[in-house]
């Protein structure tokens, strides 16, 4: 081992950062908070993982920056980085013994110190902690020396064990619906986390599969067009079948989540037209959702007793009202752009909410008490009618709405109107100079967006059965906008991915109680840093950002002159 390959500064920096972050997580309280939450029962808790995780991550980072492939250098780098982190933790516990940190940091409790020293007496415990930290660094170093294929297999196996271990209870709620599967569940999972045997089996299964897949040739043999067509139809049919039976497979609780995600997909598809296609930043989008919901409420609720229509009788009115509202909002803001537009739309959203809340309109809209006993949609003919009440039933209504709206959105995107929106988004002045009527074009964008949101609102009203102004907070608009940005602005599949990630994920993170929004926020920040174009970006945007990766079809001629 040559000393010149060894980077002291790097090791020290990584080790200190790893330790510091482990302390930070401890002081937030999640380490002790999850000390009873096992990933693998009686083997490792989530709390311990939160201490070891940063140490592991930073020794890995140090090793990635180490160019030397000499195993001596690598092992020393890993071990020393880990040991440094361990020392930082040691110092932290030491300081904690002398000074009462609890005066400032509520979570610097004796429990935390006990946990960090593995419930041993302080000297032995801390020595153990130091050793474990160094060992983590050593293992990481060993890991980086493995061939890529094995690395992938081990990494994937580990990630799956951690994720499934954490999601144990959640998976349990689904699996216990099924007789024979529940036996498997009981074998794989313990009262908290996975059972040791279950974890090993899962690790081997996932790792083995990953190893096998990495060994296969990368280039898939091209199927003949006819077969491709068959495969495509088969996939579509498979997805369709899964979508149809999803609520039954997943059970009531998951269906509720699915419904919520579905409503956000509906609204996201609408806002995507306004923001993504036409480039008009709308922060008051929840207004149309409210208008759709309230129109259904006013027209159907026997409590208010104005009209007593059925859901389906009221439905077209709700759409028309939402559409008109979209145009009305569009009119005064035609000349505005960017930030100004955002502020005005924000105001509009608040106005609608406050109108619903006001005493003035209370006889019609119910004020703070909202509207109760909204009619549920009834489907069927003659004697065969079903009232859609449960989450599992409403799922189908939402699914039908999404399919319809997504289809329209796809068609609009590729239409002349879609192209016009795009031109307007890119350069309004030039678009006008090309003869585009920007007034009409913007108004159609607002109207279409409002219409889709209105549909979402009607289903929302029918689903909950009673609506209150507090359901239509500004935050809803922000959530829809965020899901579009996370999914990839202007991308229709992106709306689905974004809604699942932003609306579905926090529900799945319920396990983490009050910390879930912490993880959620961290995930959002990381996502915007590393994948700003979104999870499923629009092809055009990708084309522009990564032009070098996609060879232009036809006859590519490299540019020979610059400008």
């Amino acid at each position: 081992m040559s000393t010149k390959d060894f980077d002291w500064k790097l090791v020290l920096r990584s080790g200190l950062l790893g330790g510091a972050i482990a302390i930070l997580l401890s002081l937030i309280g999640i380490v002790t908070g999850f000390n009873e939450t096992y990933i693998i029962y009686k083997v490792i808790t989530f709390g311990e993982l939160l201490v070891l995780g940063p140490i592991l991550a930073f020794s890995f980072a140090a090793l990635r920056r180490t160019s030397s492939s000499d195993s001596g250098v690598r092992f020393t780098t890993g071990a020393l980085a880990g040991l440094t982190s361990g020392l930082v933790l040691l110092a932290f516990v030491g300081i904690g013994q002398v000074i009462n940190l609890r005066a400032v940091f509520v979570n610097a409790s004796p429990d935390l110190y006990a946990m960090l020293s593995y419930n041993q007496s302080l000297p032995i415990g801390m020595l153990l902690r130091l050793l474990v930290s160094g060992l983590v660094g050593l293992i990481v170093a060993g890991f980086t020396l493995l061939p890529t294929r094995l690395k992938q297999a081990l990494g994937q196996g580990l990630i799956y064990v951690i994720l499934i271990g954490l999601m144990g209870r959640l998976i349990g709620t689904v699996m216990t619906n099924w007789g024979f599967v529940s036996l498997l569940f009981e074998w794989m999972f313990a009262s908290s986390g996975m059972s040791f045997l279950g974890a090993i089996v899962l690790f081997l299964l996932v790792g083995g599969l990953a190893y096998w897949r990495a060994g296969r040739p990368k280039v898939k043999p091209r199927l003949e067009p006819k077969k491709q067509q068959t495969v495509r139809w088969a996939t579509l049919a498979g997805v369709g079948l899964v979508l149809i039976f999803l609520p039954n497979i997943l059970g009531l609780w998951f269906s509720e989540i699915l419904d919520n995600v579905g409503l956000f997909i509906l609204m996201g598809l609408g806002l995507n037209i306004v923001v993504g296609f036409a480039g008009l930043l709308d922060l008051g989008y929840v207004a149309f959702y409210a208008i759709g919901a309230y129109t259904i409420g006013v027209l159907t609720s026997p409590e208010l007793g104005f009209f007593n229509l059925t859901f389906w009788q009221a439905f077209p009115f709700a759409l028309i009202v939402a559409l008109i509202a979209g145009v009305l909002l569009g009119l005064p803001i035609l000349k505005m752009r960017g930030d100004y537009l955002a502020i005005v739309t924000l105001g509009f959203g608040e106005i609608i909410r406050l109108l619903a809340l006001s005493d003035w309109l209370k006889p019609w809209l119910g004020g703070t008490q909202g509207i109760q006993r909204i009619e549920r949609p009834v489907i069927g003919l003659g004697n065969f009618t079903i009232e859609l009440i449960s989450q599992q039933q409403l799922y189908y209504l939402i699914l039908a709405g999404i399919i319809l709206v997504a289809f329209i959105a796809f068609r609009l995107r590729d239409s002349r109107l879609g192209r016009t929106w795009m031109a307007l988004r890119e350069d309004e002045d030039v678009a006008v100079a090309m003869g585009i009527n920007h007034v009409a074009t913007k108004l159609t964008a607002f109207a279409m967006g409002a219409l889709f949101s209105g549909i979402g609102g009607t289903i929302f009203a029918a689903k909950i059965g009673s609506i209150y102004p507090s359901s239509f907070q500004f935050l809803v608009s922000i959530n829809i906008l965020s899901l579009i940005i996370v999914g990839g602005i202007g991308s229709i599949p992106g709306v689905f991915v974004g809604a699942l990630a932003l609306m579905g994920l926090p529900e799945l993170l319920r396990e983490f109680a009050e910390y879930r929004y912490l993880f959620y926020g961290a995930a959002l920040v990381a996502m915007m840093l590393y994948k700003p174009e979104g999870l499923w970006p629009e092809a055009r945007l990708k084309l522009e950002l990564h032009e070098d990766e996609i060879p232009p079809p036809g006859d590519p001629v490299p540019s020979t002159e610059g400008s």
């Binding site: 585009i436 232009p552 036809g554 400008s563």
Partner: protein, 237 residues
């Protein structure tokens, strides 16, 4: 009757009096250059002609029509196209889609296809890159695309705002060659330029604009030889 007649227009940005009575004429088949320094009002003049700005006073008449009565997106349909300053192509659209946007107001598919062929023949580089997104083109190619896009509207009068801006000398010459060719094939051109030498070389007539007023008007050749023009715009003593 001239094709385009601008009579004593006064255009304001809020309280700023940008054009103080500009008058100019463009005859059918001409290339007319409007030269002047920064802030002289060149772009404002073009924007007023294309109805993006409304003059408080004065007349803009194109083929006998009062242009002030039209909305900016209607002006294209009357036969005036604009190549904006700084190119401003649709960066996320392919070259082909940019050109199709140019033909937005037209319905006759056969004629559009013919014009597309003509544009590709005029600027073969665009044909090579027709499937590439506009943002990935070089500056010179973008200028060609912006010009081609405007030509796809089938204009009688083409307004060009600083076509040479930010381009290498070789490319400037190529752009001006294209301008002359477009003109020879029957399109009248009103050109706004800071590159006075090139602009006056290709122009039949030229106007010199200073702080919102026309200070000189002559044939291109004569202006090029004019002592004060040489001093102020051509860098000669």
């Amino acid at each position: 009757m001239p094709m385009l007649e601008v009579e004593n227009i006064h255009t304001y940005y809020g309280n700023i009096h940008a054009l103080k009575g500009v008058s100019l004429k463009v005859e059918e088949g001409e290339i007319v250059s409007l030269i002047g320094g920064n802030g002289a009002g060149k772009t404002t003049t073009l924007r007023t002609i294309s109805a993006a700005l409304k003059p408080r006073e004065g007349q803009v008449t194109f083929m006998g029509m009062d242009l002030r009565k039209h909305r900016p997106h209607d002006v294209v349909r009357k036969g005036i196209a604009m190549v904006p300053e700084g190119r401003r192509i649709f960066a996320q659209m392919t070259v082909m889609e940019n050109l199709e946007m140019g033909a937005y107001t037209r319905k006759d598919k056969k004629k559009i296809a013919e014009d597309l062929e003509w544009v590709f023949e005029l600027l073969p580089r665009l044909k090579e890159r027709r499937r590439q997104v506009g943002g990935t083109l070089s500056g010179g190619e973008q200028q060609m695309l912006a010009t081609a896009r405007a030509m796809m509207t089938r204009p009688r009068l083409l307004l060009m705002d600083e076509p040479s801006m930010g381009l290498a000398p070789v490319l400037v010459e190529a752009i001006f060659d294209t301008i002359v060719r477009i003109n020879k094939e029957g399109t009248t051109i009103l050109l706004v330029e800071q590159n006075a030498l090139m602009a006056l070389s290709v122009a039949n007539r030229g106007y010199v604009l200073e702080t919102g007023t026309i200070v000189m008007h002559d044939t291109g050749e004569a202006l090029k030889k004019n002592a004060s023009v040489q001093k102020a715009y051509l860098g000669m003593e």
